[in-house]
Symmetry: C2
Subunit: 211 residues, 2 copies
């Protein structure tokens, strides 16, 4: 399993006009350990082009490229994984298509989602929203740290918390049981994405060293 400790999720709408490739480059320089491309509004062709550019950027770094929802894009560019929400393809269908060549991550909003994802063969679980967040408006109520701890107790898979996480609260998310934190706006909307990533990286490393 790759290092999911600082997991970047992209969103071109929140990138303040900067290209996703530029944001990813800066975030990688700052220390992100995993990159998920999430594109809900561009054409398939644009998504493939962008994913291929990020794939090349990450080549040789050991940082996995995960594609949100679109298994076709993931297959086309040879991504390392696909991340599936509760309205995306079912794990069983996805696993049949990618075998064990790709990681499959699943979004979970409650203990039941996470337990089911583990039973169905997910490789890791993204749990959300940990805190209330303006990035996504169609989400379930916030899990809070207690909710994170409940999911941690219920599944053994790697857990990545997402939703409203930044430098001020990343430490407690790790201490509540997450193996990593996923961020969107904390890096991609930052004036200096490299510096924002580096700051989070330091905080997460310290939280893991002093649990």
């Amino acid at each position: 399993m790759p290092d999911l400790s600082l997991y970047l999720v992209t969103d071109r709408r929140l990138s303040l006009g900067r290209s996703t490739v530029d944001i990813v480059r800066a975030a990688v320089a700052g220390g992100v350990t995993c990159v998920q491309l999430r594109e809900k509004e561009c054409s398939t062709r644009q998504f493939v082009t962008e994913a291929r550019a990020v794939r090349e950027l990450l080549a040789g770094t050991g940082i996995p490229l995960i594609i949100n929802d679109r298994l076709d894009v993931a297959l086309a560019v040879g991504a390392d994984g696909v991340h599936l929400g509760q309205t995306d393809m079912l794990i069983a269908d996805a696993r049949r298509l990618v075998g064990t060549d790709m990681l499959i991550g699943i979004s979970a909003e409650c203990v039941d989602d996470a337990v089911r994802a583990q039973a169905e063969g997910a490789d890791y679980v993204g749990i959300s929203p940990v805190f209330a967040t303006p990035t996504k408006t169609d989400t379930a109520p916030a899990l809070g740290l207690d909710g994170v701890a409940l999911i941690r107790a219920a599944v053994s898979l790697p857990l990545v918390g997402i939703g409203g996480i930044g430098p001020g609260n990343a430490t407690e998310v790790i201490r509540a049981g997450c193996d990593g934190v996923a961020v969107v706006s904390a890096i991609i909307s930052a004036p200096d994405p490299k510096r924002a990533a580096a700051e989070l990286k330091t905080i997460i490393r310290r939280a893991k060293e002093h649990p």
Copy 2:
């Protein structure tokens, strides 16, 4: 190559509240020879569920199921083909993923698009819009029958005309060089989709018998 002579393209927004599966069932009873599912607004999970239902409906009929744009959905349900527009995945990427197991159809709006599609290994070309149409609002100027004839002269692949085609003009589209006509609203918005399909089927058969 399957029979593309009466090629149904779905669009849930134009189905007058009837389910896509019900529309396809009626259209098949009326004689459509090919079904393309086009879903631009539903989740991947809904698209897979619907495609699988149509796949089962078509099993044993010899009528191919083509999925618009989404190669992931096509692979998940074992569709017979995928139809790619000019902003969807490039043929080269798609072919690498599906080999020769699936048909690849390409949308062309001009001679150049069609010639390129043939050179790149498409199995058939959908040429559009033949006539002005309210179904799609982001299209190029209408090809007209002269445009159809120009494309017919330039490529040897099967051609399916789409855009503004109905009982009143299907004959001339076939005579101008199309191997088949694709329709959206002429069937899915019809009060009786089975009857609308049967009427078109008769017209197309006669046009092919008396070119």
